[in-house]
Symmetry: none
Subunit: 269 residues, 2 copies
């Protein structure tokens, strides 16, 4: 058993299992608000390392903090570089996020593949990163050629321009969802309460059908079997819990109690 460290989400992991999550690099970002919002999205999906290349309004930028909404460590740990080249020197695999078609001999990678690729690198401890261009103009070709691959989102061709933080958000989501292929997160794999015993379900059916017999619901009588099947089907399909069966028994009782009493005691009132 090896040394243990805290990973980027503060969990204790063995060092050989520390995952190297991709670095987000914003090239010449214009609005502090977008930088802050990008921090929040990153942390929402487990990314923590932000780099800024020549932010327009300098750094730190007071407009960023409110939009970071608690992702302050991401903001405070952001590193600033003068050029895109300097910001990627230590990275072994770099993506360029762009929606525009480029006349460059750089492969384009789809969103379906990129998550798996980044996870594979991360588990090897290989440093990766992604470049996002400035709000108005996007990445220049000089930036894009620093990348190993172009990442393009499946955007509406009639309305392509993503907000910068939204673009980071999608990337962060892709990263997070590649961990387990979009399965339901552990948090939600609650024990769906135990399905009721079939016997209880059948008793409930019998109770219901007894009351329906008493009320003259099954008419004509030769259709009783078919009607009864049709009544039972949705309850079986719903995979009722024991609690729900009990609740339904209570409902049947509540709905029919007045009638039943009325009939049984008719002679005595």
């Amino acid at each position: 058993m090896g040394k243990t460290v805290k990973d980027q989400l503060g969990r204790i992991v063995e060092t050989d299992k520390a995952v190297k999550a991709p670095v987000v690099i914003l090239v010449k970002p214009q609005l502090g608000e977008n930088i802050g919002a990008a921090c929040r999205c990153m942390l929402n999906f487990g990314l923590t390392e932000l780099r800024l290349v020549a932010p327009r309004d300098g750094w730190p930028n007071p407009a960023a903090e409110p939009m970071a909404a608690g992702a302050i460590t991401v903001l405070q740990n952001a590193k600033v570089y003068e050029t895109t080249g300097e910001a990627v020197v230590d990275l072994k695999f770099v993506l360029a996020a762009t929606a525009r078609r480029r006349e460059l001999e750089i492969p384009v990678i789809g969103t379906g593949d990129v998550g798996r690729a980044l996870r594979a690198y991360a588990h090897e401890g290989t440093a990766t990163g992604i470049l996002f261009g400035p709000e108005k103009a996007g990445l220049t070709n000089a930036d894009v050629v620093l990348a190993d691959a172009i990442l393009t989102y499946p955007v509406n061709p009639a309305f392509q321009s993503l907000n910068l933080a939204q673009a980071v958000n999608i990337f962060a989501y892709i990263w997070a969802s590649a961990e387990d292929g979009g399965a339901v997160p552990d948090l939600f794999q609650k024990e769906i309460s135990a399905i009721a015993d079939r016997e209880d379900l059948v008793r409930m059916f019998e109770h219901l059908e007894q009351e329906l017999d008493d009320s003259g619901f099954f008419y004509p009588p030769e259709k009783r079997a078919l009607m009864s099947q049709n009544i039972r089907a949705p309850y079986t399909r719903a995979k009722l819990t024991a609690q729900e069966v009990q609740t339904l028994r209570g409902i049947i009782k509540a709905l029919s109690k007045g009638r039943g009493r009325g009939q049984n005691n008719r002679g005595q009132t």
Copy 2:
């Protein structure tokens, strides 16, 4: 070759190929900025139908337009509703986006499956939608029980709170990226055409609960809302057909008619 129409992105398609994209429903959104930003994300990924339930600052909201950044038609075509129930009556499959664990018997669907499921519905022309809660509190349980499934993103458990527009953004991306998705997951392999209109389902609930009110079932009264949710959940889950809803209405009527008569006519017998 059939008749042609314009689809939601203005493309000419054959009518039998018109795709019914999901409706985005913001429940009690607080900030106009988020509503506008949500419109932009929606249109980026090909979603065009927005519904607002009781927006806090009324509607239209001048704060929304700048953030919509060109997605003005989405904004202008947004429809406003007073209740969540009214906003979903015409939808056959409804998701609730929530990161919080709920004590409700509603299935949780992962992001990997949901895109394929929505595409399958869309190609059949089945109306679907997704509920997003207000910025601070998220969806109430009363909203969540109107949904067929809970959608949850693979968020960082230590920093779960997504900005509202970012949450819509992820959903829109999932929708777009599933365009070429594969088969329909098991959960959804049934012919949807027969599912009852949500409006009929809601009327059935109201009928049932009226009768249960009359019978004194809801006790103590402060638990009525919770009890009502628990009663509704399995019926929503069962994806009742129109015929089954009718049958249930008949059952409710049959079970309660004697009681009703008994009570109404007590003085006269």
